[in-house]
Symmetry: C2
């Protein structure tokens, strides 16, 4: 592509309404333009990147024998009424009426349409297992669209759905999809983690999110430095400390404290947060002969309410009770000594000896407290968030915490939709069997933004080769004054195009500085600079975008060099 025939549209200034780096750089590099809140046009540079993501996703889906289809974006309400989601789905579901006043919606996802297709087209166990996918425009009417294409209303998604007779078959497809997702993000050159995810209200089945690691990520991820283990911080298990609890060596003592924050008590008591516990009272479940349960965790940790809520002793959804009413003191003064309700203690807190805690009296704390001797433990559970340095629950390595952007999600749906919509086949024995389902999404347009969050510097975007809008830029110096520069640039352009490279030939009448700035902003990974001086020696200059490596090389070795660098050939 010649710049003079292209729509570069780069911006010098950072647009004021763009909050995150990827949004700023996508606007500055001329990749997207806003049409309305959460609605964007993908300009040529942006679409080139989007198509590259799409191609890799499609190839890896086909490799695992997923069949591509295309479902309509506008969907009829009746199928969603059948699944129950017409009522259940919030206002992100844009409900519309056609000219005959019939109810439709703009599809945020396609479980209903695919279930309708499969219940009509698949009637025999012989046709199973079956995985179908599409790469298609979705719509979610976000209340506050922001961050550019990271949280847009209209966006591009790859959604796949698999259908099975047995859980084993579903697990196998799920594992294949997991591997395909890993290959996709690897091929795109991204630093990512598959992360064990919460299965939420559907429950009971496996789910993984795929996160691109980036400091600006919305989610905190715990991952092992000694294995592939990774999970959302909320999901990661904090395993029991190996060391056993020490014997008591201190006597219990009462102290007057000031303030209302635990952190404010500890310093005057000369107690480290790791030697103190915090407590809270939550509503008990029907299984417990008490109204409240006390939760106890180490003061340097955070309570994880998602974990706590799953305990049978605790009512779901979790409800924090007013300690003033129940115990006559503020929550920061309650403690396990002489507690009148079951005490559930986090694993790390349960191995403490001689620790500090609230005295169940306003303005008083205790030190030298010991379990068994001074306070009873009803149960030891994992109820805290993991922290960096915790041993990995997989048994190998230590946990690190990183921030991630969710770009993929795989999920064993089970029979939620196939029960509601009666998706079944005749089994080998002639019996009607309801199918079990998996669903698998990749936010294709989101991947583009996530990659930029991961790969940028103060000069612009620093694309991995596989994602770059152009692989090579030819940057001729003052071409319009030098017939020789012009000739070499044109010949090299032709040669590299013929060899199948995505080349941007910057043939604009611009100063070299303007060209370099643009090529670095849009992030062309490899640049060939052609100037009079080097041509005297039949040389050009190669520049790498990522490490700014510069080297002179003979004109006639450029092709071989790029073949080696970009094609391993």
């Amino acid at each position: 592509m010649r710049s003079s025939q292209y729509l570069l549209s780069t911006l010098k200034e950072t647009p004021s309404d763009a909050e995150i780096v990827s949004h700023q750089l996508m606007l500055r590099a001329g990749m997207i333009r806003k049409v309305a809140s959460g609605l964007y046009t993908w300009t040529p540079t942006g679409l080139r990147v989007l198509k590259k993501v799409e191609r890799v996703v499609r190839e890896e889906m086909e490799r695992i024998n997923a069949l591509e289809i295309l479902m309509p974006m506008v969907q009829p309400a009746d199928l969603w009424q059948e699944s129950g989601r017409w009522e259940d789905y919030g206002p992100e579901l844009l409900r519309i009426k056609d000219r005959h006043e019939r109810d439709f919606l703009l599809g945020p996802t396609h479980e209903e349409i695919i279930s309708e297709l499969v219940r009509k087209e698949v009637s025999s166990y012989k046709q199973l297992p079956l995985t179908l996918f599409q790469i298609q425009t979705k719509f979610r009417d976000e209340i506050r669209p922001r961050f550019g294409v990271m949280r847009a209303r209209e966006f591009m998604m790859k959604d796949a759905y698999s259908f099975h007779l047995t859980d084993e078959s579903l697990q196998q497809a799920y594992d294949e999809m997991y591997d395909a997702y890993c290959r996709i993000f690897q091929r795109l050159g991204l630093d990512f983690r598959p992360v064990i995810a919460d299965t939420g209200s559907i429950g009971g089945h496996a789910s993984h999110e795929f996160h691109v690691l980036a400091g600006s990520g919305e989610d905190a991820i715990a991952f092992s430095d000694g294995s592939d283990y990774a999970a959302n911080v909320e999901m990661a298990e904090a395993i029991a400390p190996k060391k056993e609890r020490s014997q008591p060596s201190q006597d219990k003592q009462v102290h007057d404290v000031t303030g209302h924050e635990v952190s404010a008590f500890l310093q005057p008591l000369a107690v480290d947060a790791q030697q103190a516990v915090q407590c809270t009272l939550v509503k008990a479940s029907d299984e417990v002969e008490a109204d409240a349960v006390m939760l106890v965790w180490r003061a340097d940790h955070e309570l994880n309410t998602i974990k706590a809520e799953k305990l049978t002793q605790i009512a779901a959804p979790i409800e924090v009770l007013d300690s003033d009413k129940l115990m006559g003191c503020h929550g920061s003064f309650i403690g396990p000594v002489n507690a009148s309700m079951p005490v559930i203690v986090d694993r790390s807190a349960a191995v403490l000896a001689d620790f500090a805690c609230g005295a169940n009296k306003q303005g008083q704390w205790l030190t030298g407290v010991n379990w068994d001797r001074d306070a009873e433990i009803s149960a030891v559970e994992d109820i805290r968030n993991v922290v960096a340095g915790d041993p990995s629950p997989c048994g190998q390595g230590t946990l690190q915490i990183a921030r991630g952007i969710e770009v993929g999600h795989i999920f064993q749906l089970g029979k939620k939709y196939s029960n509601a919509m009666k998706v079944g086949v005749l089994s080998e024995t002639g019996k009607h069997e309801t199918l079990t389902m998996g669903c698998y999404g990749i936010g294709v347009s989101r991947v583009v933004a996530a990659a930029i969050e991961q790969f940028h510097d103060d000069r612009g975007i620093n694309w991995p080769n596989e994602l770059a809008p152009f692989e090579v830029a030819i940057v001729p110096m003052n071409m319009h004054k030098s017939a020789r520069v012009q000739k070499v640039a044109n010949e090299l352009y032709q040669q590299l195009r013929d060899a199948g490279f995505d080349v941007l030939f910057d043939d604009r009448k611009e100063r070299p500085g303007v060209m370099f700035t643009d090529m670095e902003l849009i992030g062309v990974p490899h640049q060939i600079v052609i100037g009079e001086r080097n041509l005297d020696e039949e040389m050009v200059e190669y520049q790498s975008r990522s490490d700014r490596d510069k080297q002179k090389m003979p004109i006639n070795s450029v092709l071989e060099f790029l073949n080696q660098t970009l094609r391993n050939a």
Copy 2:
């Protein structure tokens, strides 16, 4: 692709709700499935064909340096209010409200969005000319969607838009697009005609429609057998006959006739329809000193009201007047003799001598009428539809009439949108210039249906190679009983796939008849049949879908044969 891992979904019966062949065959071949009125899912077989159309369209757009972008399907109302189309567009425009009660619409076309993009991104004449395109989902809320994807509500379209400083630049882009469209439909193997189209209410600029010829087509097209000339029948000029009018040889005679239809009068009078004229009275324009104008044309021709309406003497829109009131007789009895209003005579009628016409008296006709001697001509004009056998208006060849399905439309829009939306640049002299625009559409999903209308027989679809969902089918006979058949089939499948062919390997446990029926229904152009008997001689049987040519060939020459047949290699 192995059939056993594929979703074939063929139907034996013709679905009762499908009116036209392409709709029936797309359902029977398992290419589409209806989701709701005018909304379809493209199943794997259908999507494979759709993607092939898409690929050829994209390649030819890129060849003429059109840049691909992707605009949102959901569009904000404000831009359409600016262009005036928010009010003007009928109920096919689906207007919707988002969760904040703001007005949006589902895009049937993207002139407003592209104009908004270009007025912001293009500021200098140096960036022009510019052609942008997208391949994207559109929505038109048809009152009665039918014929499957031929007239669906959600459909796939390639829409391109070009921007220019001058009419010459627009004409050049238009010509390049015209050539690109010809290459696209040629490459897809379609019998098509570019057809001069009416520019309608926008007026004044060039427009061509591209029609795929098929007996079921909605439009009648006149085309020359001696040149590339083609036009909608309504648009084609009926050129003046070369022969001059003969001298009168008969006397004018009055006859009593019965009935009210011209055809009923002629036989008793022993007059050929080519020797008679029909007349009608229409409202005159302000340019004429009369209320009515009489239109006269040969009785074997049809009046063309679109042509007549364009005449300065006639009021637009055309209004037929009541001859009973004006002349005291039914319309089939009026004639040019002693007419009290201007008489506009079609070119073919103007060269008649000794012709028959109404006598301006109920129940009476005249024969032996001659122009000048018996009746005056105010003007000779082209006011009839062309018929097969007319000389082509291009001067070469004779016109044929065929029916066509519109699959593409190119249009010189001029400044309609750029005036309304202020799309301009600074010219070389620093002056602000409003741009002139072209728009160019291809109904990508419609092409698939149109191709089937052109290529089918009683066994199913007869795809051209470039459009077929699979190029080659491997059909093994009773593979599950013969290890030898199985081995050869598997090896051939691997060999053809490695060579880059789209192969469907029918490895189902089905009877040969079922396999043949399916392969012919979905229209795989080339079949390799593998059976025990031929294997004794190391042979397989090749079958061509289009001409049913069957030939035995050695197993090891199949690849070479297919390379020759499909790749000219």
